[in-house]
Homo-oligomer: 330 residues x 2
């Protein structure tokens, strides 16, 4: 075990304490596990709340701030947060304009956010929900009925967050979030398994020299396992899987995402191959983001997410955002 | 080998192509290996040029942009760039106000930047140099006479870059860079070795369950090797090493840096322990930055850098910066 931790039981609480110390612009309730934008509730504006298992950082806590999420609820590592966290988050951020829950499609997340929505509505909070299910690799995987939610979450949170920041009403923020999800597709590849603190050993067996094509962000099985491939071959496989499913007619935003254990040097090199395949397929790329944004602890590997954008979605993507992990504009 | 690459020979060129595609705000000369801020030269302003071996991303290319570096010269992985790159960079960015070379203290970097400074001066470019040697772990390590340059580089590039952006003349930018280096100290810890593309296997032998205290950013030996320690124990060791050497009387900026292979979840948890030790030692913390900024490929581990700041240095730290890896303000 080569982890930088105290004991597995305190990993999430320790991280939240460290996050609070680094980011005075956030309010972090370490005990109740809610990360909130400090100036929330923001008068007249819709709030966005997301959450999910820890281990995918910076998702979601690193995306809390003006122009993106209003609050995030981190669960234990690879474990859904509980409804109580989500209700607290909703109560903390609701300005009266309502709350959008952004829910990655994992059975536990879906059930708990549904229960939280009912409880919050009982408290007089107007709640809408959007389900993110962008992963084209498989349907009905471990933990999931239907498609898994992965990199598309970043696009939903950024673009719908920008709409909320502009003052769009709840039904409009919800509609935009849905549109972003419908136009987003992802495909992930693992070059190694990841190790959870509780288990202390790899979560699945991936021998050196093999890779898992279509892996989920918890190491769920993908489409197939193969002998090691080059960056060029992996880009061909992943981008084609995404493009064939999305079938874009307009420009896309590309997220070339690291799973956590792959050096940025390699991710940039992989991006060159991703751009090559997109060029060969005639897909225009409006914006590209390269880095570790939706991770799986120390897993080596990468994912490609494409979001097909129209003029409005691109404008909202470019709108200012001020979060720990994503910031531009002012 | 679990690398996301084509062949070891093209890793740096591939990464530069991918960087060019992702960052239209930079001019990337892939063949000559120079990354330049697109609007350079900036009239009337001092330019900052740095560089070093690749494998430490986002350092240095990810720090090119308004408010930080004007250009960066990436060498091969863990190998110094050559003088020709540095001269080209200097010529591309010099507005007539002069160029500051920011040089990490490794023998190859020092020699090549010295030669480049002479060549650039022959071309009529005014050049100043600042040496970064912030690593308190050891003196005279592998590749280095004196102390190694590590995380302090980020502080020098950010704070001196802000001074240049404000229009400070060369001697003043140089003096500020020197002051930042004199007030910065680092200590690194490896929980695993890293693997270079060319070698394809770990660069040094670190058995699971052991760690290297005081490791360099290329895996150079540190002070001692021990059986695995907790995050709390590592923070005690690393922060005390830094504080005892720096002996700060004023507030510090803390960089809690990942070596590349350690999840952000763990880095935030480690930050909680770093802040605890600083609190116990009575060191006030003005700002904290947590993330993977000065890395060693896929090495698991972390480093702590403290920079003692006065009012001016803190103001320059807070000044706007717009680079791929560090951005705030406007």
């Amino acid at each position: 075990m080569r982890m930088l931790i105290n004991v597995p039981e305190t990993v999430v609480a320790d991280a939240l304490r460290g996050m609070a110390a680094a980011h005075p612009e956030l309010t972090v309730d370490v005990e109740r596990r809610v990360v909130v934008r400090r100036d929330a509730p923001v008068a007249g504006k819709v709030a966005l709340v997301s959450g999910g298992g820890s281990g995918h950082e910076p998702l979601h806590g690193g995306f809390v701030g003006p122009g993106m999420l209003t609050a995030a609820c981190p669960g234990e590592v690879f474990t859904s947060p509980v409804p109580d966290q989500m209700v607290r988050a909703a109560a903390a951020v609701d300005s009266g304009a309502g709350v959008l829950f952004v829910v990655k499609n994992y059975t536990g997340d879906v059930l708990n956010f549904e229960m939280a929505a009912e409880l919050a509505e009982d408290e007089g909070i107007q709640v809408a929900k959007v389900l993110v299910d962008d992963d084209v690799a498989v349907t009905d995987s471990l933990y999931t009925a239907g498609r898994r939610g992965t990199g598309g979450t970043l696009f939903v949170e950024k673009i719908a967050g920008a709409a909320a920041e502009e003052g769009a009403p709840l039904e409009r923020v919800e509609a935009i979030a849905r549109r972003v999800n419908e136009r987003s597709r992802s495909f992930g590849v693992a070059l190694s398994a990841c190790t959870t603190p509780a288990k202390g050993s790899p979560t699945f067996d991936l021998p050196p020299g093999e890779l898992e094509l279509g892996v989920g962000i918890h190491g769920e099985p993908g489409r197939e396992r193969r002998a090691m491939m080059t960056s060029r071959e992996i880009a061909d496989y992943a981008v084609n899987a995404v493009v064939e499913d999305l079938d874009p007619t307009g420009p896309v935003i590309a997220l070339v995402n690291g799973m956590g254990g792959t050096p940025l040097l390699e991710l940039y090199g992989f991006n060159a191959e991703v751009q090559r395949v997109l060029g060969e397929r005639g897909v225009p790329v409006a914006r590209t983001l390269v880095g570790n944004y939706v991770t799986s602890l120390d897993m080596a590997g990468c994912s490609v997410t494409l979001c097909e954008v129209d003029e409005e979605l691109l404008r909202l993507w470019d709108a200012p955002v001020q979060t720990p992990a994503l910031r531009w504009g002012r």
